[in-house]
């Protein structure tokens, strides 16, 4: 676990460095001006340039670029210049269900249908069965967004599809439209217990589409939110961080990197090397979630059967 959070922090650090590196170009011009005012306290900061070299610069020379700071971030627009993607390596999945329980816990899922489920799949009688974790695919051509009459479910520039459950009218058209059956509905008053307590603990002041399930509202739709609340903190989505087998990789398509917390890989290369594909590509929904086929498996499918429960995805004790 410790290892995990370390590598997460590394991910964050790298991201920050890369971000700052892009700013550095701008420094040249403004250098003169700032130098006049800045107090040089001799603090050095390590930065990475665009071609991958580490350089040390004086802390006072760093100017935060206004466009990338949090003020220009809006819930409906998302993170600037990002395109989040996920890669799920089916060869590694043992149905450990840690992803599901982490997701359920952090999104206060108390219904009977989890947002992230591990499906027991078998294409036909003669082919090998495998485990397939599936949540919202965050499609680039999202059918749910097209049909929503009130723009309650929306697509952001960074690729994430979210739901504004303060606006949703509960028509469930989006659920009918989704070919991945990923949306869940609050048929009754969600029994999330002391969620308001948690709200203040998480220092979230306002319920927002960015943290689905916090709180859920009766008569509205919920689904996997790709954890923007974690990304904001520089962390990985809960499922990615929780998986003991490194099945999930998460990252930014523009940076072409994805990480599962342990290893960071080139996104394009990973897909190429391992023949990545997307679910129901033929429908044209253009998902943001990619799958690596369950080949050369080191894991035994049978072992996952112990945890498998066809009729339950949310354990009540969680």
């Amino acid at each position: 676990m410790k290892n995990d959070s370390n590598s997460r922090r590394k991910f964050l650090n790298n991201g920050l460095k890369a971000g700052i590196a892009t700013v550095i170009g701008g420094i040249g011009l403004s250098k003169m001006a700032t130098k006049l005012n800045a107090k040089t306290d001799g603090k050095k900061v390590e930065l990475m340039t665009t071609d991958g070299h580490l350089v040390e610069v004086d802390a006072s020379e760093i100017i935060e670029e206004k466009t990338t700071n949090s003020k220009s971030y809006t819930v409906r627009e998302g993170f600037k210049n990002k395109k989040f993607v996920m890669v799920v390596d089916l060869a590694k999945c043992k149905n450990a269900l840690k992803c599901v329980s982490a997701c359920n816990k952090h999104h206060y899922i108390t219904g009977k249908n989890a947002w992230l489920k591990v499906y027991k799949m078998q294409e036909s009688k003669d082919t090998a069965p495998y485990w397939m974790p599936t949540a919202c695919q965050h499609c680039d051509q999202p059918a749910c967004v097209t049909v929503c009459p009130v723009d309650a479910t929306f697509k952001r520039r960074d690729g994430i599809v979210l739901i504004d459950n303060n606006r949703c009218i509960g028509c469930r058209f989006c659920m009918a439209a989704c070919p991945y059956s990923t949306r869940v509905f609050n048929w009754s008053e969600p029994d999330q217990g002391d969620i308001t307590l948690n709200l203040s603990m998480e220092q979230e002041t306002q319920p927002s589409p960015e943290h689905g399930g916090l709180p859920s509202i009766k008569g509205t739709v919920d689904k996997c939110d790709f954890c923007p609340h974690e990304i904001k903190k520089g962390k990985l989505p809960h499922c990615v961080a929780a998986c003991p087998n490194g099945v999930f990789y998460f990252g930014d398509k523009y940076e072409d990197t994805v990480t599962n917390g342990d290893e960071t890989l080139r996104f394009s290369k990973l897909l190429k090397d391992k023949s990545g594909y997307r679910l129901m590509e033929g429908l044209g929904t253009e998902p943001s979630v990619y799958y690596l086929p369950p080949v050369d498996r080191l894991v035994d499918f049978e072992k996952g059967l112990k945890q498998y429960d066809e009729y339950q995805s949310v354990k009540k004790s969680e």
Partner: protein, 438 residues
Amino acid sequence: MENYDNLLNDLAPKKFGKVGVIWTCSLIAIIIVGIIAYIDQLIKGQIVTNMRDYALWGIYISNFVFFVATSFVGSVTVAILRLTKNKWRTPLVRIAEIISLAAIAMAGVTIMIDMARPDRLLNLFIHARLQSPITWDVIIIPTYIVISFLLLYFPLIPDFAILKKHFKDKNPVLSKWYGKLSLNWKGTAVQKALQEKSIRIIALMIIPVGLILQTIDAWLFSTTYRIGWDSTNMGPYFIAGAFVAGIGALVTVVYIVRRAYHLEAYITDFHFDKLGKLLVLACLTYLYFNINEYLLPAYTVTKDESVHLNTLFSGSYSPIFWAVTIIGLIFPILFLLFKKGRKPLPMFIIGLVVVLASWWKRYLIVTPTLLHPFLPIQGVPKSWHHYFPSIHEWLITLATLAMALLIITLLVRFLPIIPIQRTADEQALLNNEKDTKS
């Protein structure tokens, strides 16, 4: 003149007899029970229904589609009968328009019953997005309600004036109301010209609007990827289905009104014969589209589709499917092809069967498809794999049906169900012809 008085006495609205009162009271009772069930649904949420994440739409949507389909009868009678100047329509159009208005109004109510957050209804206008088929519905349904209303109202104006006079001494209050509704109708040439023109415009409008309404209804389904819905056949298929449901409802109501008001002299076997021919035409068209919808896919069937078709042909939904197809479509065609089948009583029974089958047909369109998603149903309670409406759903459904019937009943009670003025004119014309001939 004596003739005219007879006519007026026959056709002016009459007080209900005992049966009428019992009928109305039972409708009101059913509605009250339904309202209680609905309030319970509002408080507890839609958990009181048997819809769940997979069967995410249920009979509310079936009811909605059914009501929309039935409301098509207004367009059809206008399209086929008014514009082609078929004389035999006179005693039937008003009933058709009343059914149409009641059905479309209840379609609007039903879709709100299905909405889990009716308190946010205004969002549909504040945040409307034009690309969603629901927004198209939000536009087209009120439009159709208004047009149906006007189409009912405009031809009524002269009759209201007649009734004002007729009830002057018998029932002054009612007379006053008829007077107000008649908008000072004097029957002058200017007024007549204006009225005729207005009716013509509305009659022309209701046909395209009706077609659009049915098509949008179909698009609610075919804009999704779901197997059994994702079909380009849906639009015409729904229009043909609406044709059947509408005429079926018309036959049923006409029969009851005729008996209740003793209008045998005005609505004759001849009318039923004509209606029967219309219904058989509708059924044949629908059969054609059914073949397109179910038989052709069976040839190029994909794996997912075969699962879907199998549940209909031989699986858990097959009893309903075959009942709807054989009893609700093929039998009516066979009976109606014979002259004896087009007599009033058989027609009434056939109409009733057709309407019932139409409702179940919509149930079959909505439910089985939802229970066959692309990914297997896993990780949810066993009961979520099936769907059958809950008590709440049935009670609310019955209440909406009762409400539609109550609207029809009240309109039948207070409106001259057969246009008095027109009938008088036509009879005068007939008599004149006779006179000149003899």
